[in-house]
Symmetry: C2
């Protein structure tokens, strides 16, 4: 028998009998996808079929149950997309069903080696000790390459550690990818020379399916300090493939674009911690961007802290990664974020800085604010 | 000024003022992602910024409004993932917001050439006239290659037009991809020789991000008649890239695995027609699998028919594709499906056939049932 990994689902159900019936249905749906009376005896039934390991009433005030179902590593076949398919392929379409937690097995941790750098690696790259990391974004789409590069230079001079493309910057004619990459890497390098800092430029890596991996390598060759990928758009194996590629060594920042439906429903999709924490860590993201509480999106403080916790919890393999809350962050929010997240966090502040008349000074005030005791 | 494409969103709101504020917020969020007072005058404000074109009360009994927002083709930069990012990138994370309809512009139709074959091409490949198409699936995972190939042969002999891998079949040791592909193509070919039919084997194409496109081409070289891809897992540009690749010519069947969160919430994600209809057609899918009403999933009859309608509606470019409802279909459901869908449909019947003692006979009964008047 192969080792088994376990997924805990919230199942909307009025009583234990209904919950059990739904749980057994998930165990079928996610593995053999045929009626139970047609499941072949022996290997298929004993090994491949999902197995209901535990069922208990949900204690979070929802009308339903938590069902833990285990699946065989044999079913994964060394394919990360198939792992996700087992976790929540067809069952994603069933209403009132949510992935709460994923407990990987040794074979899954072998398939998903996790981040290459993680929190500690990002800090080393930024040249800082235990203080928080800082990231900002050049934007908006429509500015010229030189205007965007000027912003990148100011962010670097001001002390931001990672300066990323806005996730809407692709290969538009106003600032084509290769030209923008080259210009931003240069200007950030010049700023580093002047400041003694170690800021990194982080291009947005997207594009046709046959070009996206190459574009990440192009970024590395051009001197980028990390790359940003939106897994829900580019595909869920892109980050894992890059993180495991012996010919690629940059950190990977993930962006949540197009992933919202996976987390916004209280009884569909994934729990925030499972999606932005466990899954992104298994994928090999080094930093995971998600909307902070109290910003332009609807995540609660508790949901956000559950993500940060899942980024660092012992998983028996993958390094701790860094939670990068963003989405409408302002100077006024810094004390609250400091109190909530502590120092193991990456502050993503974009639009608020761009509204300041002196961008370099604004960045320096932010640097001082996030870690007043210094490093 | 570049041509603009339009997205209509359902916005949960109590009154018109709230709806308008939310709509203007989406127009910012999806394009410039900075506060309105920081948007540069000129090109960025006039061209790139999303533009609220219309706002009206929703008439479907929901508490909210329909907002039509137009976006510039300049913002897309020739990148299909960026098109999706504009349609619903960050805004996917906002609660009470749903993509109802997408109206592509000429440049989007140039980027998304749509399906290579479409409904008519699939019928030609199957050697039939105006009658419905039939698809079944070999399964479950855990069976040997020879057992799966035997099922494929029986389906072909019985008159199924497309015989696909279960979407959980990847490269498991019990039936490795290359071995299964070869065996199934052979046995389907032999069955065609005996029956005079033109059944196609449709392997499930998945795998590492750097291998998935190659695997589709491997399938073509080995004699497959189409390939199946799950875009929500493999990435949203994979189908488009394959459909546009001059060195690839097979039809593409899409599978809904992992996409459920995009459609199950009544006021999040996408409308069924926009997601499974418009988007899959823009991607270049030739047939789109989705769960039929009355099966194991919760889609309503109306939602399913809206998908079928969007598969065939005039889009000013892409060919009509075929809706392939499945998910718990049985013989008893055939008359109801015939009445609902008419003849321009692909029946996907899996588990129900596998429960029959004589699979070939069961397929033949199904063939007769879906189109009793014959071709």
């Amino acid at each position: 028998m192969a080792p088994r990994f376990t997924v805990t689902y919230f199942i909307r159900a009025q009583d234990a009998a209904e919950a059990k019936a739904r749980a057994l249905d998930i165990a079928l749906e996610q593995t053999v996808e045929i009626p139970r009376n047609a499941v072949p005896k022996g290997y298929v039934e004993d090994e491949i079929l999902g197995r209901l390991e535990a069922l208990e009433k949900d204690l979070n005030g929802r009308e339903g149950y938590l069902a833990s179902i285990s699946y065989s590593e044999d079913d994964v076949g060394g394919d990360f997309l198939q792992f996700l398919n087992i976790v929540f392929g067809n069952s994603s379409i069933k209403p009132g069903l949510r992935v709460e937690d994923i407990l990987p097995s040794p074979g899954i941790l072998e398939l998903c080696k996790g981040p290459r750098h993680g929190l500690a690696g990002l800090r080393a790259r930024a040249g800082i000790g235990e203080s928080p990391l800082l990231m900002s974004a050049i934007k908006p789409v429509g500015l010229s390459t030189s205007a965007l590069a000027r912003l990148a230079g100011d962010f670097a001079l001001g002390g931001m550690h990672f300066i990323k493309d806005d996730h809407g910057l692709v290969d538009q004619k106003t600032a084509p990818f290769a030209e923008r990459l080259k210009a931003c890497v240069e200007v950030v390098g010049e700023a580093n020379s002047r400041s003694g800092g170690k800021a990194s430029f982080v291009p947005n890596v997207t594009g046709p399916a046959n070009a996206v991996l190459d574009r990440a390598k192009e970024a590395e060759a051009a001197g980028a300090g990390a790359v940003m990928v939106a897994p829900a758009l580019a595909g869920y194996d892109v980050v894992r493939t890059l993180a495991a590629d012996p010919e690629f060594a940059l950190p990977i920042v993930t962006h949540p674009a197009f992933s919202g439906a996976n987390v916004v429903s209280p009884d569909g999709g994934f729990s925030h911690r499972a999606y932005f924490g466990t899954l992104h860590r298994l994928m090999g993201a080094d930093a995971v961007i998600y909307p902070n509480f109290g910003g332009r999106f609807g995540f609660t403080r508790k949901e956000c802290l559950s993500i940060a916790k899942a980024c660092a919890a012992d998983m028996g393999g993958p390094k701790a990664i860094v939670a990068a809350p963003g989405g409408g962050m302002t100077f006024e929010r810094v004390p609250e974020m400091r109190e909530a997240y502590g120092r193991d966090v990456m502050y993503l502040v974009g639009g608020a800085l761009l509204q300041e008349s002196n961008l370099v000074d604004a960045c320096r005030r932010l640097v001082a604010a996030v870690d007043p005791k210094g490093d």
